[in-house]
Homo-oligomer: 205 residues x 3
C-alpha cells in the first residue's frame, strides 16, 4: 500500500506543479516566479496538513519532492511555449492532483489514529489548499470555492476511503485505487457536463 | 470562567461561519464551497494562533467545533435564500465574532504565561485572521485593513482584558464580559457612525 | 557573525514594515490597518520559516521585533503624509529587506544542520513570504511572481551563501556581507535596467 501511495504522491506533486506553471503562464510570470508557484501549489496542501498535525513537514527530509516540483516547473515552462496547450488541461491536471492528494491526506489522518472527521478534513486540506494558494497568488477566486463540484468530489473520495477502510474487507491498495477513481470521476464528470451543486444566493435578489 | 469562554467560543464559531456563508453568497459559491468558507473563516484565526504558540490545534480533539461550523454553514446557506438578509448583517456578525474571539485569544496567551504584548497579539490574531482569510479567498481587501476601526476595536478589547486581569480586582467572568462588551461597542459604534481612524495617504497626493 | 546578522535582522524588519505602510498608503488604509500590515509584512516570512522548521517563532520571546515593526509603522504612517515619497522607494525598501532576510533564513537552515537545498528554500521563504502576504492582503499579484528578477536574486544570494559557507575559506561575517551585497545588486540592477527573466507564455498566443 505504501508504495502505491508513494507513486501517487509524486504524480500529485508533478500535476499540481504543472497546474501552477499553467496559471503562471496566464499571468505572464517569469521562469523563477513560475517555478516558485509550481513548488507552492504542489507542496502547499501537504505542508499545511503536516503543520496542523504537528508532524515534520514531508519535504524537509525527502527533498526530492521539491526537485520533482522544480523539474516539472522548468520543463513545463518551456513546454507551454511550443505546444498547443488547451485551457481545459489546467482543469484536468488539477483534477488528477485533487484525486491523489485527497487519498494521501485522508490515509495520513487514519494512520495517525485520528477520527474519521479529522481524517476527511486532512484529505480535503491536502487536496485543495495547494490549489487555493495557487489561485490566491494568481489573483483569482479559488476553484475550490466556485461552483463546479470541487469540494464535493474531494469530500466524497475521502468518505469512500474512510468507509472502505473501516469495513476492512478490501485490501488497502484496492481501497486507495477506488477512492482515487471515485474522486476523479466525480470531478471530471462535473467538468464535462458542467454539473454544479446548489448555489448560494440571496432570497431578495 | 472557563465555561463562559467556552460558550463564547461556540458563538464566535457560529457567527464567523455565518459571515463566511454571507460572503459566499455574494460570490455565488455553491453549497460545499460555502461550507468550506464557513469552516475556514470560523476556525482560521484560532488555528493560526495555536500553530504559532505550538500547542495542539483546538479542533483536532474537539471536533464539535467543526460540526458547529458545518451545521451553521448548511443552515445559513439555505436560510439566506428565503429570508431578506440585509447586507449590514455581515458586518454585525463579524463584529460579534471579533469581540468574543479577541477575548478568547488574549486569555489563551495569558494562561500560557506569555507577556502582555504576546497575549494581545494572540487576541488580535484569533479575532481577525479568520476574517482576513475569508476576505482574501473571496477576492476582497480584508475588512481588517480598511478604514472602519477594526484593528482598533480588537486592540482596545485585548488591552482592557490584560489590564483588568493584571489588576486582579474583578472576578474573571466579569473581566471577560467587560472586554467583550468594550470591543463590540467600539466596533458597532464605528459601523453606526462611520467613524474612522486617520487614513494613510501620501503627502504629494 | 551573530551580531552582524542581528543588526541585519532589525534592519530587515524596519524596511519591510516601511514597505507595508507604503502599500497601505496606496490602498488608503487607516493607521491601525497600516500598522497591522507593517507587522505582518516584516515578520511573516520568518514566522512561516520557524513554523515549517518547527522551532519557536522568533518574536514570541524577543518581542522587540514586534515593537520595531509597530514603531516603524506608526512613524512612517505620518511621515508619508508630509514627505514626497517616490513610488520607487517601495521597490528599494523591499529589495533591502529581501537581501538581508534571504541571508538570515539561509543561515538559520545551515545552523540547524539541514541540507543546502532546504537552507536555500528557507532563505527564499524568509525573504519573500512577508512581501507575498503584503501583496495578497493589498489585493495585488505578488512582486515575487512578477517579471523583474525577484526570486532569481534571492536564489542567487542564498546559493552564494551556501557555497561560500561550504568552502570554509572566508570568515563568516564576510560571507554574510557578500551574500547580502550580491542579492541587493542583482535586484537593484533588475529594477534599474528593467531586466527580466524569460516570461511564461503560451505557444499558441
Amino acid at each position: 500500500m505504501d508504495e502505491l501511495l508513494h507513486w501517487f504522491d509524486m504524480i500529485g506533486i508533478a500535476v499540481f506543479a504543472f497546474s501552477g506553471v499553467l496559471a503562471a503562464g496566464h499571468k505572464q510570470m517569469d521562469l523563477f516566479g513560475a517555478v516558485v508557484l509550481a513548488c507552492v501549489t504542489s507542496t502547499g496542501g501537504g505542508t499545511i496538513r503536516d503543520i496542523i498535525l504537528n508532524i515534520p513537514v514531508f519535504w524537509l527530509q525527502d527533498t526530492y519532492y521539491l526537485w520533482i516540483a522544480v523539474a516539472t516547473g522548468v520543463i513545463s515552462f518551456y513546454l507551454i511555449r511550443y505546444l498547443q496547450v488547451p485551457m481545459r488541461l489546467l482543469m484536468v491536471a488539477d483534477a488528477i492532483g485533487l484525486s491523489v492528494f485527497v487519498v494521501i491526506g485522508t490515509q495520513k489522518g487514519l494512520e495517525l489514529g485520528y477520527s474519521a472527521t479529522i481524517a476527511i478534513v486532512m484529505g480535503m486540506m491536502t487536496a485543495t489548499f495547494g490549489g487555493v494558494i495557487r489561485d490566491v497568488l494568481s489573483g483569482d477566486i479559488p476553484l475550490l470555492l466556485r461552483r463546479e463540484i470541487y469540494a464535493t468530489a474531494a469530500l466524497t473520495g475521502a468518505a469512500v476511503l474512510v468507509a472502505l477502510d473501516a469495513s476492512g474487507k478490501l485490501p488497502g491498495d484496492l481501497v486507495i485505487a477506488i477512492a482515487v477513481v471515485v474522486t476523479l470521476s466525480i470531478r471530471l464528470a462535473a467538468l464535462r457536463w458542467n454539473l454544479s451543486a446548489p448555489i448560494a444566493r440571496f432570497g431578495n435578489h
